[in-house]
């Protein structure tokens, strides 16, 4: 299915003329909290999640594991107490984080990730996972690879639409959230002949994001066929490339502002 085609048609008009495969504006603020080891606030236009990472630090005796670190995730919804849905999201996020953190490196410690939904306009799980990735980087927790997450929905006329907002999620036949690991291929960065002040940013922008083939985590709700699932996976993988490129740019900016010493 041709998702890059814009234009009028039943079910294809998105708010403010967004293309079906277009992501919302991304904003990432790092080191927002004082007492946490690492923190980040990730915003995708209407959705915003604040992540705080505490660790690796001494685990409680009942929870400690003598051979590996223990990952604890707390997912707090925007309003109200935690429900069963939030606990299920905690389990999902914990599984993804256990895949990227080298647990065997820190026995008897615990890494606690607290996610607070500040605004929810669709795609809260993706927003939370991206915020957790940025917070882990801010905390200096060693990771096997970076990861990024993107949501998409299957509309009632069987079209895939990337990065849905709340109204699109409500009206959808099925919702998907995919998380992919990524790394950067620095050999593709062409040496820039620009002035020294911009060469650093030019190198980083040219470094291509290479998203892994296999998925770190998926969460699918609704009725869909296996072909639609594979198409959604491929579409989200392309979306993750763009999120990865943005995350690296935002990290470069924040590291430069803090000083290279």
């Amino acid at each position: 299915m041709d998702v890059d085609k814009a234009g009028p048609g039943p079910g294809s008009a998105r708010s403010r003329g967004r293309l079906p495969a277009q992501l919302r504006t991304l904003v990432c603020e790092r080191a927002v909290l004082d007492r946490a080891d690492g923190s980040a606030k990730w915003t995708q236009e209407g959705s915003s999640v604040l992540a705080a990472v505490y660790g690796p630090r001494q685990a409680k005796l009942q929870k400690e594991d003598a051979e590996r670190a223990v990952v604890e995730v707390v997912f707090k919804p925007r309003a109200g107490l935690q429900g069963h849905e939030d606990r299920s999201l905690e389990l999902e996020i914990r599984g993804i984080l256990e895949g990227v953190i080298p647990l065997g490196m820190f026995p008897r410690t615990s890494v606690m990730v607290v996610l607070q939904v500040l605004q929810d306009d669709g795609g809260a799980l993706s927003c939370a996972l991206n915020a957790a990735a940025a917070a882990l980087v801010d905390a200096g927790v060693p990771l096997n690879s970076m990861f990024s997450s993107v949501s998409c929905v299957l509309t009632s006329d069987r079209r895939l639409v990337l990065d849905p907002d709340a109204s699109e999620e409500q009206a959808a036949a099925a919702r998907f959230c995919f998380t992919y690991p990524h790394h950067f291929d620095l050999t593709q960065a062409a040496p820039a002949a620009a002035a020294p002040a911009t060469s650093a940013s030019a190198d980083d922008a040219a470094a291509a994001a290479v998203v892994g083939e296999s998925v770190l985590g998926t969460r699918c709700v609704g009725a869909f066929s296996s072909d639609e699932l594979l198409d959604a996976a491929a579409l989200c993988r392309r979306g993750c490339e763009r999120v990865a490129a943005f995350a690296r740019l935002s990290l470069a900016k924040s590291l430069q502002a803090a000083g290279g010493s």
Binding site: E29, A31, V32, D34, D37, G38, G55, P56, R57, Q58, P102, F106, P107, R108, T109, V137, D138, A139, G140, V141, P142, L143, N144, S145, M146, H182, H183, F184, L186, P196, A197, T198, A200, D203, D204, R248, L251, A252, L255, Q256, A257, A258, G259, G260
Partner: protein
């Protein structure tokens, strides 16, 4: 009630990036480009031109290539390659002087919180017993452990060994280590503390004792006669028995409570360390003294030392010091 002398508590909103903006404003630079590029998680670190290298923190070997596991700046010191992050927890090395808080008593050991990844263990057999130096610890010693250090007390110690799984063993086998009372504790990011020959500093002219723990906890206290004797005894070395009797005698006589001027000096030193932390500048005796003297000469009030005005003065002073050092 005369309210002229009493100053109200000032509440300031936390603005992330305000300190960086302050530094940029004073130095008149905007969006200064960093001279070193950074690596991200999963980026390969080049080891060309280097046969044999030591892999440090923040790296791992994947498929024969050296790959970064954290986002930061690559540092190369001789053959050691590691990735330095902006903030990270303290990693203990053997021989480090640390300041920690006793968290728990377990069996024959105290568990000490060093603000690191794991709590460190201080074994009963590794503690300096008063009176006899080497003697077998018996069951009575074990029952009297709380007489030494209780939960919640601050102690200074040295790292005896770091095991393969990351657990740290401490010892206080010298008169200069032990319980810390009557002073101020300042928490500093461990990245700002450089390992040096001396971590115990007795500034007799000011009457202040300063302990710069490698784990980022800095202890500032008014200098007490028994601590001065202990420091001299540790420095002196030989004749240990005689000096320890002296120290014990001095400790037996309760030290007089510190005077107001002494307390103000201690507060000013602690604030100087807090200023260095806000500006993310290395914390070592020379920089602390420079900031302290700038505060004294500028006659900055104790409460105003963390205001932007004084911070700007410190930044300007440091910039001048570095430019004159570079010109030499």
């Amino acid at each position: 009630m005369a309210a002229a002398g009493a100053s109200a508590v000032k509440v300031r909103a936390l603005v992330p990036g305000a300190d960086v903006a302050l530094i940029e404003r004073v130095l008149n630079v905007h969006d200064a480009p960093s001279s070193t590029t950074f690596v991200c998680v999963g980026d390969e670190i080049s080891t060309e031109g280097q046969e044999g290298f030591l892999r440090g923190h923040g790296t791992q070997v994947v498929d024969g290539k050296l790959v970064a596991t954290v986002c930061g700046v690559v540092e190369r010191v001789n053959k050691l390659i590691y990735v330095k992050t902006l903030n990270s927890r303290y990693n203990a090395e053997q021989g480090d002087v640390v300041v920690g808080r006793v968290a728990d008593l377990a069996g024959k050991a105290w568990r000490v919180d060093l603000k690191s990844r794991q709590e460190a263990k201080l074994l009963l057999s590794a503690v300096h017993l008063p009176g006899g130096i080497q003697r077998r610890r018996n069951a009575e010693d074990e029952l009297n452990m709380r007489a030494f250090f209780r939960e919640g007390e601050l102690i200074s110690a040295e790292v005896q060994s770091v095991h393969a799984d990351g657990s740290v063993a401490l010892h206080t086998r010298s008169a200069k280590y032990g319980k810390l009372v009557c002073g101020q504790l300042v928490e500093v990011p461990p990245n700002l503390i450089k390992r040096q020959k001396q971590h115990f500093h007795t500034l007799e002219a000011l009457g202040v004792e300063l302990i710069i723990g490698c784990n980022g906890l800095v202890w500032v206290a008014p200098l007490r006669p028994d601590r001065l004797a202990a420091a001299n005894a540790a420095a002196g070395g030989g004749g240990a028995a005689a000096d320890e009797d002296e120290a014990a005698a001095a400790a037996a006589a309760a030290p007089p409570p510190p005077s107001r001027t002494q307390l103000e000096v201690v507060c000013r030193m602690a604030n100087a360390i807090r200023v260095l932390t806000r500006l993310y500048m290395p914390v070592y005796p020379a920089s602390i003294m420079a900031t302290y003297e700038a505060a004294v000469e500028g006659e900055a009030a104790l409460a105003d030392m963390l205001e932007p005005a004084f911070l700007e003065a410190v930044v300007a002073q440091e910039a001048q010091r570095r430019s004159s050092a570079m010109q030499e």
